[in-house]
Amino acid sequence: MRLTKRTLLGAGLSVLAAPLTAPILGLPEALADDATAPLVIGTNQVPRHFNGAVQSGIATGMVSTQIFASPLRYDDQWNPQPYLAKSWVVAPDNLSVTLHLVEDAVFHDGHPLTAEDVAFSIGVIKANHPFQTMLEPVSTVETPDAHTVIIRLARPHPALLLAMSPGLMPILPKHVYGDGQDIKTHPANLRPVGSGPFKFVAYKQGESIQLERFDRFFIPGRPKLARLVYRILPDQNSLVIATERREIGMLPFLSSVRDIERLAKVPTLTVTDRGFEGIGPINWLAFNCGKKPLDDVRVRRAIALAANRDFITGKLLGGVAKTATGPIVSGSPFYEPAVDLYKLDIAKADILLDEAGLKKGPDGTRFQLTIDYIPNDNDQQRNVAEYLRAGLKRIGIALQVRAAPDFPTWAQRVSNFDFDLTMDNVFNWGDPVIGVARTYLSTNIRKGVIWSNTQQYRNQKVDELLNAAAVETDLQKRKALYDEFQKIVVSEAPIAYINLTPYKAVYDKRLTNLPLSIWGPLSPLDEVAWAQGAAGAGR
């Protein structure tokens, strides 16, 4: 009995103390005065593998963009820049793009990179990448000589140049991946060979990834860093503490309000929101339009009117996030601000629900709904879902929060239409064809596929607009099509847009040439360097 009692008391104390003792994992501090010091990049995402040709997402992308080079890269103004392609020509009829490749690019194993590898990679991506619309119009790829690639299109495809970005079109070595094995499970996905600035050294599953400078990188004098080390710490608090202690030099994809506020106060760190224009992340509330009563647009509008976005962005998210007004992020050239804004209006929401025939019961409740959210993202997902429980109670909707123990459970529910409402965090991926259309096209209602049209939203006009915009090469006309699309979709509300996910990247102030292009942390870090003589603590 004694033992039991003491254990109980001890455990009682540890419940009190546990939240205050964050685990700190020791690793030698990066020494910036040594030019060969590694840049330690902190992440809580565990990549399945490092082959960005068959896997989307930031976990794979962050590493894949360092190991593999792509035909093009981008500056911070959405302008394509030469990378593996030293120049490119879009044919006047918009039905082909010719790439002229650099001549001295080699893979990490010494094989020269040729047009064959580019053609092979485009084929692999078209067949395997989850973004099916990205290369769908590509009909054939011709290789007239070793350093020329002609991409032929079945119809104009203005998103193609953006699809040649580092995160979306890694060029794979054909002599490694073309051996007939299934690309998605190819052993080289975990021991990748690319032509990018850093070569793969080692991966400790779920712990760290080590990359090393590739001496024969095709851009002379780069990369400037000797080594990259990705430290995987599943606990967000440990990441933040390690960054404060300068054990981590770069912490991309930080979205927790308190963590941002905390690290912004550290004098040795730079916190920036630049570098996420390309990804274009939106945190939103999705409705299952295939389910009663959410198939009624009045019900969806009522919920959108009751979701007080000013409170969410101003109070819950502490003012660090911008309000999202529509399906396209405000940093995109296609953004249309003149849409329904769904300002908080309880009275109007009540009227809409009454009109829909959903009267209040004697206890003030009209009906019950559930809400799901992506686990492990408290600020953007869980807290907003829990806030909505209180917010929707005001219009007589009893909202039950359904927690999911892990990401696959949530994805399983949502992709199989087993939900009423769900919070979601979806990326624009630069061009609406790549990241926006997938959520609204009725042809993209694919059961079991997450981040397809899981809302089961169907509108023929929207389909027509999206398909027309996908092939429209005139920027102004294309924008006009997307403007109309945005107005319809916001008005019909298959999704209530909450906020732009306030991703920030944190960098040690001793780093120079930060990756601030539209793809930010998903672009090659070949220019980043430790500042000369910037060493020393206490700065």
Binding site: K5, L9, G12
Partner: protein, 307 residues
């Protein structure tokens, strides 16, 4: 302990008194009352009971008196205590005091229900194994050992993950993982008691096994089981806290564990959001523990032997 020593002379004096008064002596006629008296004489037991009664009854009139829905958003998040609301707000702007009052109900309910499950399963297994012995004992103890070697928290996490984050599932999961010690304790008591003369006498008088287990042995094996059940409440409360802390609580039922779990990420910026529910759990477990200890002293078999 002091109560135990102080009461010893009374044991010695007793036979003299019982000779003087032929009807059954009062302590033996009502051992429960005697135990209660001993319990109340124990200061730590009294303190524990007071804490528990306080915690049990504070939640009951809580909502009517304080009148706040713990899930309602009353203001900006992270308002410190001392303003309005009195104990501040949490990460969503929910009222901490309302959550503490309402949350105690769920937490203690989970504690008592899980302890009940523990006792029911544990006593059934232990009693059957200890009474019948032999193959029955071996089989039942194999099952018990199987559950005993499973890491309890991990197993509970698996159960909650599989069957969903509902408060009922949490309660069952806690009960299912924490019964083996009770089973072993019960079995030990049964093994000790079944060979004693009064059991043999009852058997000789023709009592069947069910009667022997339920009416003859169990009442005599009860004291340590009661004590372990009391402590099981504390363990269950902690378990609920631990599961919620790991993010496996029921998000639709306010409990102290849920408060800690949900606010944990903000502990450094807003200490009150985790410290206050943490203190409530600490008090509850302390109260249960003190009561369990006092019950142990009060119903100690050495005191019962005098009857």
């Amino acid at each position: 302990m002091s109560a135990l020593i102080a009461s010893k002379p009374a044991v010695r004096l007793q036979p003299v008194r019982s000779e003087a008064a032929p009807p059954m002596p009062s302590p033996a006629a009502n051992p429960g009352l005697a135990a209660l008296r001993l319990f109340l004489r124990n200061p730590s037991g009294l303190l524990g009971s007071l804490i528990l009664i306080g915690l049990l009854f504070a939640p009951q009139p809580g909502p009517p008196i304080y009148g706040a829905d713990p899930f309602e958003i009353v203001g900006a998040p992270f308002q410190p205590p001392g303003g309005d609301p009195v104990l501040g707000t949490d990460y969503l702007g929910q009222d901490i005091l309302a959550a503490l009052l309402q949350g105690g109900r769920a937490t203690l309910l989970v504690g008592f229900s899980a302890a009940l499950i523990t006792v029911v399963i544990g006593v059934t297994f232990g009693a059957l194994a200890g009474f019948f012995g032999g193959r029955v004992d071996a089989a039942l103890m194999k099952v018990t050992e199987f559950f005993q070697v499973l890491p309890t928290l991990l197993f509970a996490m698996v159960l909650v993950t599989l069957f969903g984050q509902k408060i009922a599932i949490t309660t069952i999961a806690i009960g299912v993982v924490s019964w083996p010690p009770t089973a072993r304790l019960t079995r030990a008591e049964f093994l000790r008691l079944r060979g004693l003369d009064f059991v043999k006498a009852a058997r000789a008088a023709g009592a069947g096994p069910l009667y022997l287990i339920g009416r003859v042995i169990l009442p005599n094996a009860a004291p340590p089981i009661v004590v372990s059940a009391t402590l099981a409440i504390g363990t269950a409360v902690l378990f609920e806290g631990a599961l919620s802390f790991l993010g496996l609580g029921d998000p639709n039922v306010m409990s102290w564990g849920l408060m800690i779990g949900q606010n944990r990420a903000y502990a450094l910026e807003a200490w009150w959001t985790v410290l206050l529910p943490g203190a409530a759990i600490f008090l509850a477990v302390l109260g249960v523990s003190l009561v369990g200890d006092a019950v142990n002293d009060a119903v100690n078999p050495r005191l019962r032997k005098r009857s």
